[in-house]
Amino acid sequence: MASTEVTNTINSEWLEFAPLIILLPMMTFAVILFLGRVFNGNPFWKNTMKEGGLIALPVMGLSLLLSLLLISEFLGGFNPLKVFDPATVDKLAWVNSGVWDGGSNLESVSFSFGIYVDHVTVMLLFVAAFLCLLINTFSIGYMNTDPINDNRNHRFYAEFVLFCSGMLGMVLADSFLWLFIFWEIMGLCSYLLIGFYYERPSAASAAKKAFLTTRIGDVFLMVGLVMLWDLFGSLDYAIVFNEENIAAVAENSAGTLQWALGLMFIGAVGKSAQFPLHVWLPDAMEGPTPVSALIHAATMVNAGLYLVARMFPFFGAEALHGDLDDLAFIIAAIGGITAVMAAAIAFVQMDLKKVLAYSTMSQLAYIFTGLGCAMYLANTLDWHHDDDAHYIVVVAFGAALFHLFNHAMAKGMLFMASGSVIHEVHHAHHHLHHHDEHGDGHHDDHHDDDFDAQSMENMGGLASKMPITATAMLVGSASIMGLPLIGGFWSKEGIIANAWRVAQDDPRFFLPAICVLLGAAMTGFYMSRMWFKTFAGKPNNEVAAHVGPTNTWIKTPLFILTFVTLSSVIFAGLGFTHWASENSYELGQDGFLHGLQHEFEHAFANTDAFFFVLTYVAILLGAVIGPGLAMALYGGKLADGEEAKPWMRPVIQLSAWVRKRFHFDNSAFAESTLATALENRLYIDEYYDKAMVNIVAAFSSKAAETDSEVIDGTIKAIESGSQSLSSFIRSMTTGSARDYILMVAVGTLSIFMLIWGVA
């Protein structure tokens, strides 16, 4: 993975255009904002241009196209060994600056911008560009059909494209410095978009919470970057990933390096909403649903994972062998804890988007666990020389990255589907209650009166009314649950297997290993619960009975993503599970069928007895027990006369049968302390509030006291002192010209005498 091992350098034509991937959306930001200001309310702008949506769409399409060209060139067709050497790319010098070296010298340092492309970049680049385009399409159907957004959608689209530019820039950047800059651009856009409905106090405070919580992590990230700079004298990937440089640093400051990476990991924890900095993500659901889909499910929250994946060259370096295993354990443990905690909270949430938010946290935690285990393996195995060890490391890292891919696709789709449901439930409610009673048809708030369009209490039995949405949700849930052959199955199995592999080697890892196995069952339960409560059974109320199908702008991305998620098996066969390896890159190397056979053998007929059993235990937990419990509690037939599509019919019938056969009363649990605690998110927000009041507020009041007494006191003393001095001096001005002449004469004489005296 380190740049010195890069075998081939190619002079790429498309790499030249790579900066456009970032710059185009960034310029569109200004264009949409400007045009939106000028043409606000203009019917052409509003109806034909969709208030900027149709400007953003082709730009995102162009970004995706350029990304695809870059990716296809990277994959290099028939020669998969081609890798870009970042050192050869002409860089745009950004700032030339002097840096004090601590002694008496100023070193000249050039902060330059370049593009760095490797396997991790390519994976994230595709995910980001592809989902930005699809969610842009979805936004046109979602945002522009709701009167509450009228005449301010340009703000949404402008911030949306700026966010895309930040995400793509972060992925393509060639140094940790630029990564950090784009990281903060994303943080800003996240803040602005969560607070899109800023007139709602809950949205405004959610935006503030998200911004401040991630900022805590970012401060640590910045300190980590400064330490890294101190060690390497640069933040460019080409320099910090260089084997020789790492070896030089490893010689006497491996411990410092581990601290630097650990601090950077805290930044990743904040951005990816992991315990203990996870509190902002559920609140962030106050933003419009496309924002939740793009930023808080599919792309921005992956930034933390990307940062950790970027650290791989340190963990994999021979010179640091065995030095970083503690950090790898911390990464895996944070992942494991968050996976179980978030899944448990998702059990009791009634808000459709909140369930998905906790599911996002839980799945990101899986990826962190996967990355942590891969890092541990890379750091402790002799994978540079031993082919078997090499394969293990590559597969472990690949599983985490592949899960990132699967999760982004599935979760982006689930959020869009949930948006589709919420949108239509809201419209049905609007149609029923306001059109008929008032006849003015003018009411435009998602949270008007007491009706909550996001609550699953107001849904049920929607499978027949919204077939495409229901299918997308079904496939997405199956992918997240890891139902065999669909989507996340291929990667989740890999993560669980690797966690246990590492646990056999290092007993500390039993914690994350047990957590991810338990989490599989929990995922199965809460995802199924969400689907059955929303789409199966009888409609819960009159509103749910009147929901209609959604519009084409919303259906199209759902349709596309359904197929992407279903074709995960093809990606697996193509070798995506060995995604990140620098010299035994195996995409399509032995042919598709061979790859597929290999994956199936690995997944279902592992020769190692332990992993064979583990696989089936995981499938049993995630695909049978979890969904089975959900069916027993929440399954049920549709209302009479309603007919679901043929591919959903067996699922609903099965759920009805399971419910009839195994239904049990769970009210004892629902009223227990644990359930109440889960509903209150384990009181973590309250703890933080209390900590704030006790520590921060106390500190603040002391600081305010110091400010008003010590600092203000000093300033006031200076002020009154100078005032009395000046009134004394003022008394010397008599206004008489002769006195002034006298003063001039005496003064001049004194100066002469002084000069004379000195001379």
Partner: protein, 100 residues
């Protein structure tokens, strides 16, 4: 040829007379005349130094100083006119708006 030292002494005397007048008189025109006297004392000092060193630079300074003194008098008188327009007096004791 007069001894430059004597010229120098005369210049010093003239300067002191000018300074004393400037201190004591309250008519602005007389004060201005006293200032001119001091200026001329300085000119005379330049001339004395020029003779003493046998250098013409002193004479050049004197010429410049005379020209400047002429324009200064013009400005001074203009100021007095303006002051008189405002205060209807040019007695320096009565013009004390800069006080405190």
């Amino acid at each position: 040829m007069i001894d430059p030292a004597l010229v120098s002494a005369l210049s010093a005397l003239m300067f002191v007379i000018g300074l004393g007048g400037a201190f004591t008189r309250k008519n602005a025109i007389i004060v201005l005349m006293c200032i001119e006297l001091m200026l001329n004392a300085a000119n005379m000092q330049f001339a004395a130094a020029a003779v003493h060193h046998g250098d013409t630079t002193g004479w050049v300074y004197t010429l410049f100083a005379i020209a400047i003194a002429a324009s200064e008098v013009a400005i001074g008188l203009a100021i007095f006119l303006a002051v008189y327009g405002q205060h209807e007096t040019i007695s320096l004791d009565d013009v004390d708006v800069l006080k405190n």
